[in-house]
């Protein structure tokens, strides 16, 4: 979405938000350097990452999240509840057409009120990947260095700033603001090798704890709505005749056959714990050629024709990495 393309009221509201973010950033600079010594200061980088991972899953919180990428600003309300076993989430985008995303563990229901439709996106974990748990903090540290920087205030919370730098240039860096008391990540920036912020997410306001379960309920009664389910079937890329070579540290999360707009496609998803990428393989159309797709903030995509197939790599990775991953895809056997 481009700035000029926004309706005037949205341009105005975006401008107001940008100003708010800018003044927030200034306020932080003023209070930022006041690092002191107390109990939590003893945490190592690895411990901080563990705390953040745990907090994201186990805390109850509700708030308004601001997403900014280039001239684009989006706001969403989010409610998160951990019931002791799995986490529940409700995300309400406040821009664009009314939508709602209700998540329970690995299942997300996408509500489309104007069409009276519910689309259920369910992750089907493949048996062949037992070690699917999120990359551990120690694994993360093999590919990133973490600098425990100063303390800054975000949304009224005393935050620890963590600067996460990639050890190699094939992925982005991050700057995180973590609530020192709860461990909840309140703001995150994705940063390229020139130090430019490619996108950021921040809680404009957040309430930690004391979340009423009622807030997880959708805005609309969905009785009688049409229900569609995504059909993912786990597959083995090798058996399908493909060899993929993601950058080091990117572990396979899912490998599935799934429907795409153009027909069935193979999708392999990899993550290094911070960044993730997908490789799509589908039958090529006659006109398809190899080329980079338009970039969107930190999202880069590269499409490459391999014989009769089209290989498309999409992820929060630098353009060169997307291209390299696509180039490394090989037809084997068969």
């Amino acid at each position: 979405m481009q700035w000029f393309a926004l309706p005037r009221w949205r341009r105005l509201s975006s401008a107001v938000l940008l100003l708010a973010l800018a003044s927030l950033a200034q306020a932080q600079e003023r209070t930022g350097s006041a690092a002191g010594a107390d109990a939590v200061d003893g945490r190592s980088a690895e411990q901080w990452l563990q705390v953040v991972q745990q907090a994201a899953r186990r805390l109850d919180y509700s708030g308004t999240m601001v997403y900014q990428q280039g001239n684009e600003v989006r706001m969403s309300r989010i409610v998160h509840v951990f019931d002791g076993k799995v986490s529940h989430e409700r995300l309400q985008p406040m821009d664009g057409r009314p939508r709602e995303f209700i998540r329970r563990a690995d299942e997300v229901k996408c509500l489309i009120p104007e069409a009276k439709r519910v689309v259920i996106e369910r992750k089907t974990r493949a048996e062949s990947f037992p070690g699917l748990a999120a990359a551990s903090a120690s694994e993360l540290l093999q590919h990133y260095s973490v600098n425990i920087a100063g303390r800054e205030r975000v949304g009224g919370f005393d935050c620890q700033v963590l600067e996460i730098r990639p050890r190699m240039g094939d992925r982005y860096g991050y700057r995180l603001w973590v609530d020192r008391a709860s461990g909840l990540l309140l703001r995150s920036q994705t940063i390229n090798d020139r130090g430019e912020v490619l996108e950021q997410m921040a809680f404009a306001e957040v309430r930690i704890g004391g979340v009423d379960r009622e807030q997880l309920k959708p805005s609309w009664p969905t009785d009688g709505w049409k229900v569609d389910e995504t059909a993912h079937r786990p597959v083995d890329m090798k058996e399908q005749g493909w060899r993929l070579a993601p950058p080091s540290g990117f572990k396979p999360l899912y490998t599935v056959r799934r429907p795409m707009a153009s027909g069935p496609a193979l999708q392999a998803v990899y993550s290094d714990g911070l960044a993730s990428l997908s490789v799509f393989i589908e039958p090529a159309a006659a006109s398809d050629t190899s080329e980079a797709l338009p970039r969107r903030g930190p999202i880069n995509a590269y499409a490459r024709r391999v014989g009769d197939s089209m290989v498309t790599v999409v992820g929060e990775i630098p353009a060169e990495t997307a291209r390299a991953v696509a180039q490394a895809v090989e037809r084997v056997g068969r």
Partner: protein
């Protein structure tokens, strides 16, 4: 007031309904890539002068965009037709090949969605390859290098490419797992955009 005494009143009357229908059909055919480049050129020429045809073209594009992407569809404001007309007004020099890459980049910023499609149609009607001179930020287009034979099929990809990226993104978002942020945060990135299943 009649500026042309030689052709009195009938020259300002509106086109007969049949002709308008025919025009709409040809515009639709243009969108579907079913016109040869000669007919394309004629139609684009007509778009420059015929307000009604221009409105029809805008409408057809709105419908197409709405089917392709919720995001793009919301861009069309009341002033849309006016903007397209104004853009077409400014367009003549686009016929000069040397001016192409830069102009089209600027136009992509000024004219989202169907506007860009009009621009693309103009470029394509002239029969020039429409690949963007590297502009990584252009979100509208992964413009194709167009061999002359398939030239007229290109207007669709030009507006369809961004939704295509959206679809890959949506599919990626479904299975990507943020470990530090709430799991739903990938949905924040594409919230107003197409869902995987929201295709025509």
């Amino acid at each position: 007031m009649n500026p042309d005494p030689v052709h009195p009143s009938h020259s300002v009357s509106t086109s007969p309904a049949g002709e308008a229908d025919d025009c709409a059909q040809r515009l639709s055919a243009l969108l579907d890539g079913e016109l040869d480049s000669e007919a394309c050129r004629a139609l684009v020429e007509r778009l420059r002068h015929d307000e009604e045809a221009c409105r029809t073209w805008a409408l057809l594009n709105c419908v197409g965009d709405a089917m392709r992407s919720a995001d793009v569809a919301t861009f069309h404001s009341a002033g849309f037709v006016a903007r397209v007309s104004a853009a077409l007004e400014r367009e003549p020099t686009v016929l000069a090949p040397a001016a192409l890459p830069q102009r089209s980049t600027v136009r992509r910023w000024l004219l989202p969605g169907a506007g860009a499609a009009v621009a693309a149609a103009v470029l394509i009607a002239v029969g020039l390859p429409s690949r963007q001179a590297s502009s990584p930020d252009a979100t509208i287009a992964k413009a194709l290098p167009v061999p002359t034979a398939t030239v007229v099929a290109a207007p669709v990809p030009v507006i369809d490419r961004s939704p295509q990226l959206e679809r890959y993104l949506a599919a990626h978002r479904e299975l990507a797992e943020p470990t530090l942020m709430p799991h739903s945060t990938p949905y924040v990135r594409t919230s107003g955009a197409v869902l995987m299943q929201e295709k025509r």
